[in-house]
């Protein structure tokens, strides 16, 4: 079974530039997550989709971050404009669960390491 695919693996940009990350979840997984993990910290949920609807985006800085999941499959996360504090690993994960409750495991991709200089 193929895992969660993310690209690119690494990205270096200057502040105020824009950047986009791509995620292809495991086939058939209804729920897709984007997490931001700053070095030494736990993953912080940015946005959670179920199919192509948003379950939660309460911690997404909407003035600069946007995400979409077209057709309920792959997803893109965009940052525009980037700030120095956005330097982190951006993890995409997916899980099978269809219902409201978190009752299935999440599978993580390798992540995209973003450095903003």
């Amino acid at each position: 079974e193929a895992g969660v695919a993310q690209s690119p693996r690494y990205k270096i940009i200057e502040k105020r530039q824009s950047v986009a990350f791509w995620c292809n979840p495991i086939s058939g997984h209804a729920t897709l997550y984007w997490y931001q993990q700053i070095l030494g910290q736990g993953p912080k949920l940015l946005i959670q989709f179920q199919n192509n609807g948003v379950v939660d985006d309460s911690q997404l800085p909407k003035d600069r971050f946007s995400a979409e999941r077209l057709k309920g499959v792959d997803s893109t996360l965009k940052i525009q404009p980037a700030k120095l504090e956005d330097s982190a690993v951006y993890l995409c994960a997916s899980s099978l669960g269809q219902g409201a409750y978190m009752n299935t495991e999440a599978f993580f991709g390798q992540g995209t390491r973003l450095t903003v200089v």
Partner: protein, 112 residues
């Protein structure tokens, strides 16, 4: 609301035991445990769905006290391969809390 983990870090010698705790201020539906090694993605260990449920993965086990909104992860007879950062993730029961939130992590170092 993110769950709170303790301790932040623990150092063990091979064969020793350790307990990692995870607590939430909200009613929980599920507790998920993951391990992350340096530079890698988090890897799923186990999920607990019922109060009182206990599960095991090799010599790693966990319990879930639904009433106290707490879970504990037990590392028994630790091996070098157990080194890494352990995260608990929680899924809530409330209408505003169906998301999967993670704690800050507990770094475990097992030495020979």
């Amino acid at each position: 609301q993110q769950p709170v983990q303790s301790p932040q870090a623990v150092i063990l010698r091979e064969g020793e035991d350790a307990v990692i705790n995870c607590s939430s201020s909200k009613a929980l539906y599920s507790v998920h445990w993951y391990r992350q090694k340096h530079g890698e993605a988090p890897v799923f260990l186990m999920i607990l769905l019922k109060g009182g449920e206990q599960k095991g993965h090799e010599k790693i086990s966990a319990s879930f006290n639904e009433k106290k909104q707490q879970s504990s992860l037990y590392l028994t007879a630790s091996q070098l391969s157990y080194s890494g950062t352990y995260f608990c993730g929680t899924g809530g029961r409330g209408e505003d809390d169906y998301k999967l939130s993670f704690g800050a992590g507990t770094t475990v170092t097992v030495r020979a």
